[in-house]
Amino acid sequence: MLQLDHIDAGYGPVQVLGSVSLAAQEGSITVIVGPNGAGKSTILKVITGLVRPTGGHVVFQERDITALPAHDRPALGIASCPEGRRLFPLLTAETNLRLGAYTPRGRNAADATMEYVYRLFPRLRERAGVKAGRLSGGEQQMVGIGRALMAKPSILILDEPSLGLAPKLVSEIFAKIQELRKGGLTVLMVEQNAYAALRIADFGYVMQNGQVVRSGPTKDLLDLEALRRDYFATG
């Protein structure tokens, strides 16, 4: 459904990604793990369009979207909860969700999707009128994921959905992600919490220093010894 083909990218003179190729299969959960600074979030920014790659191609549903502006991508079915969630802090939780449905694709079904999001995260219904900046970390994460779902995406991009959450909440969020996959959604996420993420995913990529060092079905990646080597080895 989504392929990155030999992507080079960076910020100004700093090269972050070197020839990264990866794919997300329709109806599966794909996870990218790796230590801090490995370039995981940059990959997601290339997919959502906030970072323009200097080389390589991004192909979504057989269409080359490498040069497509970020704001034209949600209409194709790419929605994300970015690094740091980036909610609109002065707008209410509900308005944040509504904005997720800004494109015609989302707007036509906004009321029904909103109901779906509230059933997925009942807590948000109670907090609908609260400004996003005043929500707790867990609630903000729910709004971030909910806001992405409001776009009626065919692929959901999540950057560190467990970041800053209590362990109980982490397993709750991961359970919700599995629930979404069961509903037919494709998920691509980046996680620091490698072990927990690999357990719910179908396919995984391990990154280091801007490159994919290992990939495969998650059951093959769950070898803890090898993971530890990937995280700490220097070469």
Binding site: L87, F88, Y102
Partner: protein, 295 residues
Amino acid sequence: MADLGLVAADLVVGLMLGCVFAVIAHGLNVIWGVTKVVNVAHGEFIMLGAYGAYYLNLYLGFNPLLSVPVDAAIGIGVGFLFYFGLLHRELRGKETITRESEMVTLVATFGLSLILSNVALAIFKGDAVGIRWAPETLALGPVGVPLGGLYVAISSVAIIAISDLFLSRTYLGNAIRAYSQDIGAAQLMGINPTRIAAIATAIGFGLTMAGGALLTVWLPVGITPLIGSTYAPISFVIVVLGGPGKMWGSLLGGLTLGILIDVLPAFGISTSIAVAVAFLILIPVLLFAREGILR
């Protein structure tokens, strides 16, 4: 001791004038709050709005209220030109508006301000003109309320209410607010940043020029090419007082300034000192409530 009847009359005038101030400041506020562009040429567009109303009155017999939608429409057109002519090159593709961009647009609008005020001096000359539109005066006990000012005040509040409804209840309005808080995240929602910045600039200019038309009711013989230099600083004070980006802050700030400027003279303080006092309020506001007096 000040005459209570006089104070009451000044209070009423101050409130009505404050409503007009609010619309003018609202125009500045929308542009500043959304695009982070401080429009130094703001005063010149108030002036153009006032002249617009004057000529519509002179040639077509429009009263200032009828000129408001015409001026607003012209302002919207001018706003699009202003955005694509002056701002787009600097703001295009930026996920955050840096200090450097703010300086560039500041200097660009300052230049525009100089050009406009001098061209206006050349075309309109320095003589003051005005619109004679004087509906009756309503007697409220000892206080006479000029109905022209009252209609203008009501229109002003209506304009602010409509823009607030637009910004909080429509997809486009919420997209504008989203853009003002996080341009990159807005793009992730499918919001086209250029479109939003251009529309917000256009709305800001529409409000500013409409405000210029509304102001003429208080300038029966006082429209000159230089009125911008009186009302632009007042607008800046109001926006800082109410908090940039806060829509009802414009109204609260406008009323505060209107009352100060009109009521203090009733206590024997000269108008220029009253204006100075209004500016002095900024110091404690900036020291203790940097986000404005509205929470």
